[in-house]
């Protein structure tokens, strides 16, 4: 009996590690596809050579200057947004939670608008403004929800309220300055068109910090999910961990949004999909979510680039078109409990 349960455990762990490896492989494949495909197709071997061995060839130029930074940015953005969603769905105990619920989208959107419309000359400050806007909106929501602790339900309600308020601000700006909307639409839909090294460099320090912290804390999120009282009974500092997780989710999402705009759907469906595949244990769910998120954004961006080549569609649209039905299929097949 003892032996049997140990075997059971080991088999279960093995299965999950296998799933994770498959996801890792998918991640690599999507990377190769994304970097290889375009107006000039480059094979996987050539991609490898171009990145590590050659310089000054045409392949090297294309990959190094155009495709690689864009693909890397897409991957990192995917990781950030989906991890952020996974954290929020846990902390807020709400399956519909996504970065927009803690004001990240509205805050970032409002500030980006403000800069683009009122100070169009300062367009290069958009990422910084969006980043700041997202963090400030989260902070406002947290403070509003605080009453001897920030109860998840109050957080969600405060989030909805603040987002509505900022949304009204966005609409007002749009109505007052209808002539300056051109630059804005891309930001609202979210996409990776023209993203290159400077964007990547803007993103990676925050992303790396956020991902590193997130991967340290999955067990604490598991415990927090058992309910405040149980978590407290197990020795977790409930309020302290909640604020850390929310700040972390905000940081991750804000850094992504500041670079690619409001790419909304990833944070909602990737964590659910990962959970259906690998189960609710965050120790496996975090890495699974991160890899799946990267794969998904990379692939969607590739499709967005290639579908109507040379015209690009924003990746956000592809994401919604492909992701929605796929998610519904998973729901029907596997069921969410």
């Amino acid at each position: 009996m003892q032996q049997c349960t140990t075997d059971e455990k080991r088999r279960n762990g093995c299965r999950k590690l296998l799933i994770l490896s498959v996801m890792g492989a998918l991640c690599v494949v999507s990377f190769l596809i994304s970097v290889g495909k375009g107006s000039l197709d480059i094979s996987a071997v050539q991609v490898f050579k171009a990145i590590f061995l050659e310089d000054n060839t045409l392949n090297h130029q294309i990959i190094w200057n155009v495709r690689l930074p864009r693909t890397l940015t897409a991957g990192l953005v995917g990781i950030c947004l989906s991890l952020s969603g996974a954290i929020l769905q846990g902390v807020l105990r709400n399956p519909l939670a996504a970065p927009n619920i803690i004001g990240v989208s509205a805050g970032a959107g409002f500030m980006a608008y403000l800069v683009l419309i009122i100070f169009p000359d300062l367009y290069y400050l958009v990422p910084a403004a969006a980043f700041g806007g997202a963090l400030i909106a989260t902070m406002m929501i947290y403070l509003l929800a605080w009453r001897q602790g920030a109860h998840p339900m109050r957080l969600v309600l405060a989030g909805v309220a603040i987002s509505a308020l900022l949304g009204a601000g966005i609409n007002a700006l749009m109505i007052f300055y209808p002539d300056r909307l051109a630059g804005i639409v891309g930001f609202m839909v979210g996409g990776l068109s023209g993203r290159t090294w400077p964007h990547f460099h803007l993103l990676w320090p925050y992303a790396a910090l956020g991902i590193f912290i997130a991967l340290l804390l999955p067990q604490k999120l598991n415990i927090l999910l058992l309910g405040d009282e149980v978590a407290n009974g197990l020795g977790l500092h409930v309020e302290r961990m909640r604020i850390i997780f929310i700040a972390l989710a905000s940081l991750l999402a804000a850094s992504a949004v500041s670079v690619v705009g409001l790419l909304g759907f990833v944070g909602l469906i990737v964590p659910h999909t990962a959970r259906l595949i690998i189960g609710p244990d965050y120790r496996y769910l975090f890495p699974a979510t991160a890899m799946l998120g990267a794969t998904m954004v990379i692939l969607c961006d590739t499709v967005a680039r290639l579908l109507f080549d040379p015209v690009e569609i924003p990746a956000g649209i592809i994401m919604a078109i492909l992701g929605g039905p796929f998610f519904l299929y998973l729901l029907r097949e596997r069921g969410i409990r």
Partner: protein, 260 residues
């Protein structure tokens, strides 16, 4: 004396629920809080579990102020099963019970053989061994409650705090859970502090009952001394016929009518 409250006032925000509470819990006892709805039983349990900070007064674990102790240290001494708990339905029983080892692990430390053995032991003690790989959503109410108790056991606590462990269970599961509690007390020497609504259960399964009324300790004592007609009239406003349960050597009563 393993757990005690001294001059404790409890409340939420401005609202005061419990006034000047003094309670002493001794090692190895089963103590049950009884009292009408809204009398403050659950609130008291929340403060004993270090969840709700008193507005005044102190809670002592052994002889130290519980709010000055490290949370994980407290969690190794006291396990809590509140009324409100949540776990996603797709979590496996074993997974849930493994969380009970959390207070024994340092940051980032993985479970070792000993921890796994303790989880197996908790499964065995609660009769959940066969169900260890089942998902929580597929369990009956009684099985789920046993899974939570197993998680608390995996904490290897000295004290177990249970808030209405039998609510929402049918009568056979109620007995099952209370039998388990009694057995854990008898075989492991666990100190049990619980809130029960069913006075007959409280009388049968506790060494000592503490009656709470309007946020104050009304009376306390052994069930056979405490459970009198006078007591039921004063605390619960009911007339009842009192009888003796010979099999279990404890009093029980049949409620007859409410005093207007």
């Amino acid at each position: 004396m393993v757990l005690s409250a001294r001059n404790v006032c409890l409340g939420y925000g401005q609202k005061s629920v419990v006034k000047d509470l003094n309670i002493r819990i001794h090692r190895g006892e089963i103590v049950t809080f009884v009292g009408p709805n809204g009398s403050g039983k659950t609130t008291i349990l929340k403060s004993l579990s270090r969840y709700l900070k008193p507005q005044k007064g102190q809670i002592y674990l052994e002889d130290k102020d519980i709010f000055k102790l490290d949370t994980k240290y407290v969690a190794r001494k006291i396990a809590v099963l509140p009324q409100v708990k949540s776990a996603s339905g797709d979590l496996s029983v074993r997974n849930l019970i493994e969380y009970g080892r959390y207070p024994h692990l340092n940051f980032g430390q993985r479970m070792n053989e000993d921890d796994h053995r303790i989880v197996d032991w908790a499964l065995d003690k609660t009769g959940m061994g066969e169900l260890s790989d089942r998902q929580l959503a597929s369990l009956s109410g009684g099985e789920r409650q046993r899974a939570w108790i197993a998680m608390a056991l995996a904490q290897k606590p000295e004290i177990l705090l249970l808030d209405e462990p039998t609510t929402f269970l049918d009568v056979s599961y109620q007995l099952e859970v209370l039998q388990l509690v009694k057995e854990l007390n008898a075989t492991l020497g666990l100190t049990i502090v619980m809130v029960l609504h069913d006075l007959n259960h409280a009388a049968r399964y506790s060494h000592r009952m503490v009656a709470i009324k309007d946020g104050e300790v009304h009376s306390t004592g052994e069930p056979k001394k405490l459970l009198t007609g006078e007591f039921l009239r004063a605390v619960f406003r009911i007339e009842a016929d009192l009888c003796q349960d010979e099999t279990n050597a404890c009093p029980y009563f049949i409620p007859q009518k409410v005093i207007g």
